[in-house]
């Protein structure tokens, strides 16, 4: 069993609304004591060194098993999650076959058990049978088997009447519909955010309106469904445009049961990266050809992602949404791909970024830039996603709770690490951050009382 003693660290406990110097003791996997230090004992401890936080929850990851084990397996995905500080992951059902009936869920769970990983695996079921977009999947059976929601992620549920039915049916089961908002009639062949960069690079434009039209549709349907099914819930994942976030903001203000998440890459990267810029979103000028931002080759296929990297203004809107609570959580949309599917022309590359191991580092870059409080970043990875999942779903308290099985991450903000293909536990090496230094090396991840990851001394 796991033992760990750390003193002189900075504790962040968003569930308790508290952060400050402290120490923890883990004995036999149980968080035996949490001591908040004060006065002289706290001297010299600040939030720029070793941080202890509750284990992270990822609302959105793809582990590719069954069906595409060259890209990721359950075992490699769980190892990657632990390396990233995550102790709970929610997997999307777009595997081959898709997770649209309990048998596939059983396979996935068996693979997780076989991996021996301490990271807790949760899964969404498909909304439609075979993710075909035509008839409902076995929602009730999937709910009984323990899925945490329903999603056809990778595609939008194109039929508005099916969205209506799924919201009602899933709502009655106490589970959210998790929609990937994309009006596909506007994105046929689309390659990059419709805008200046796509125009210059000759890439087919992917309009913000495609996301916003879909979000508006889902929200107006939700407003009607909740009259009959008050428990209906909508979660919009990887929201990426200022307009879509504004729609969510207004819907929340009107009291609709909607939540949403934003991804680290939509917070920190922009379409200018496709032109060869490597400036963070908050450093972007909007014209990489004029401001000297272009430092590398254009068209890196690791940047091809759905929804696409947007403008600096959209990234700022994602950040604003996280700060004002419009966005409930940061979800990685970890989308590993085999090299053969990415080492091709930009326009033919598979969509997706392998991001579960870099999420913390990217958020810390925002914290370092003074754009996000440390506690806000941690909240987006812990209490935020827990709230989206709903009480009881994660079957443990989120927070540094004495007497509970330890579920926490220890990282060092003062220690940076360089992202490299070899250094990623994920089989998906498709990260645009390769070669980049990120702060916040994870030292320990303890999930459900067991050590899930421990940094090896260099």
């Amino acid at each position: 069993m796991t033992d760990l003693d750390i003193s002189g660290a900075w504790l962040v406990d968003p569930a308790a609304g508290r952060e400050g110097p402290g120490e923890i003791v883990v004995r036999d996997g149980v968080l035996e004591s949490v001591v908040w230090l004060e006065g002289e004992e706290a001297a010299g401890v600040d939030d720029r060194g070793v941080i202890i936080a509750p284990g992270f929850i990822d609302l959105h990851a793809h582990f590719r098993e069954p069906g595409n084990e060259d890209a990721e397996t359950i075992a490699s995905g769980l190892a990657a999650a632990a390396h990233g500080g995550f102790t709970t992951v929610c997997l999307m059902p777009n595997t081959t076959p898709p997770l649209d009936e309990p048998g596939v869920l059983a396979r996935v769970r068996a693979a997780a058990d076989a991996s021996g990983s301490a990271v807790r695996l949760l899964a969404y079921g498909a909304v439609t049978a075979g993710r075909g977009g035509e008839t409902l999947a076995a929602l009730g059976e999937l709910a009984d088997a323990g899925v945490v929601g329903f999603s056809d992620d990778g595609s939008c549920v194109a039929s508005a009447s099916l969205v209506r039915n799924a919201l009602a049916y899933a709502g009655a089961l106490g589970l959210p519909l998790v929609d990937h908002a994309e009006d596909a009639t506007q994105t046929d062949g689309a390659e990059a955010n419709d805008g200046f960069v796509a125009t210059v690079l000759g890439l087919r434009g992917w309009p913000a309106a495609a996301e916003e039209a879909s979000v508006a549709r889902d929200l107006s349907i939700l407003a009607e469904v909740v009259r009959d099914v008050p428990a209906a819930r909508l979660h919009l994942t990887h929201v990426s445009t200022a307009g879509a976030l504004d729609l969510v903001r207004r819907a929340k203000a009107a009291g609709l049961p909607v939540t949403c998440d934003v991804t680290p890459h939509h917070l920190a990267l922009t379409d200018e990266w496709i032109a060869g810029s490597r400036h963070w979103a908050w450093e972007a000028s909007g014209d990489p050809w004029s401001d000297g931002a272009i430092t590398t080759e254009p068209y890196a296929s690791s940047l091809r992602v759905n929804p696409p990297l947007r403008s600096a203004a959209d990234a700022a809107a994602c950040r604003e949404a996280l700060l004002d609570g419009t966005a409930d959580a940061v979800a990685t949309d970890h989308a590993p791909h085999a090299t053969v599917d990415k080492d091709v022309e930009f326009g033919t590359a598979a969509n997706g970024i392998s991001g579960i191991e870099t999420a913390l580092g990217v958020l810390l870059a925002m914290v370092d830039a003074g754009l996000l409080p440390l506690a806000g970043a941690i909240e987006g990875l812990t209490t935020g996603p827990a709230r989206v999942l709903g009480s009881g779903v994660t079957a443990r308290s989120i927070g540094l709770v004495e007497g509970a099985p330890a579920d926490l991450v220890v990282f060092d903000r003062s220690e940076s690490w360089t992202v490299s293909a070899a250094g990623l536990a994920s089989k998906g090496k498709n990260t645009p951050l390769a070669g980049r230094e990120l702060a916040g090396r994870v030292l320990f991840t303890i999930a459900s009382g067991r050590l899930a990851f421990e940094a090896v001394a260099d």
Binding site: E191, T199, G286, W289, I294, V344, E345, F346, T348
Partner: protein, 360 residues
Amino acid sequence: MSSPTATEASPPADEAPVVVPSVDAAPETQAVAWRHRHLLDLDVVSWPEIELVMRTTDAMREVLERPIAKVPALRGRNVTILFYEASTRTRVSFEVAAKNLSADVVNIAAATSSVSKGESLVDTVRTVEALGAEMLVIRHPVSGAPYLAAETFSGSVLNGGDGWHAHPTQALLDLYTMRSHLPGGSVAGRKVVILGDVLHSRVARSNIWSLTAAGADLWLCGPATLLRGFEAWASRGAAGGGRFNVTSSLDEALRDADVVMALRIQRERMASGLLPSVREYAARYGLTSARLGLAQPGALVMHPGPMNEGVEIAADVAAGTQSVITEQVTNGVAVRMALLHLLAGSRAGGVAPAAAGPNA
């Protein structure tokens, strides 16, 4: 590529004298200020470098006028021409250019190679390199594909057209053709109109870089659906410098123009709902002699080919006295000879462009 060159878009002022390579000697023996290993687009090519291409092209034009239009500059060098799109004029132009420089030319058309069996671009590039390719000319339907080829290939890559993105040799031959006709040999301050399907045009995009660098008064004109996204570029200007104009008004664009370049309209544009019909396009945007009357007397008429006569350009205009369309074809050979020569003598050597300094 590396950081942009034209942070201050240089007007075509008289630069310090450039050393033009001798066409009769091997390129690597000469001290020429050409530092690009590849030519993928013009966004990273500075104005003095464009001038160097122009003057080298002059030398190549002179070669073409010799009784035997052939020099030994690239003797023994393997130039492989890898085309993933059907093309006659550009492929043959590159082939003639390479042969005029005495290179060994290998032609690969994607339809007849193992590409149709699903081989990736990266594997194909490795294969042609293993077969001896030292310079690679590539045309590809996906924007940006030549950058992937350049990452893999250890020699020089010359972009023969990629997707909607770039067609740098076409833009350079267009500039060369304009300069050889315009008074004073300069396009600075001249009104140049690119007319038609700008959205899907790699020719238009590459011309934006070169013509704004040259100080032209550039106008893009066409139906609004085919100008999508260009207003944002026009108002920022290319590389922070020369701005240009975008309009759907043909009259506004053509009035007092010095050069009118019509672009090809493809029938797929109707199927995808961008245009009502070919007939309507021809009626509203076709370049007819009556419309050409709005331009300056003697304004140049250009077209990158292949033409749909009677659609984007009337047959009598294409064949008329103001047309320099066939001259574009001849100049295309000379420009491509110049570029093959310059790239073969590139000072960049094996250094990756990203690491080779601000103008690399």
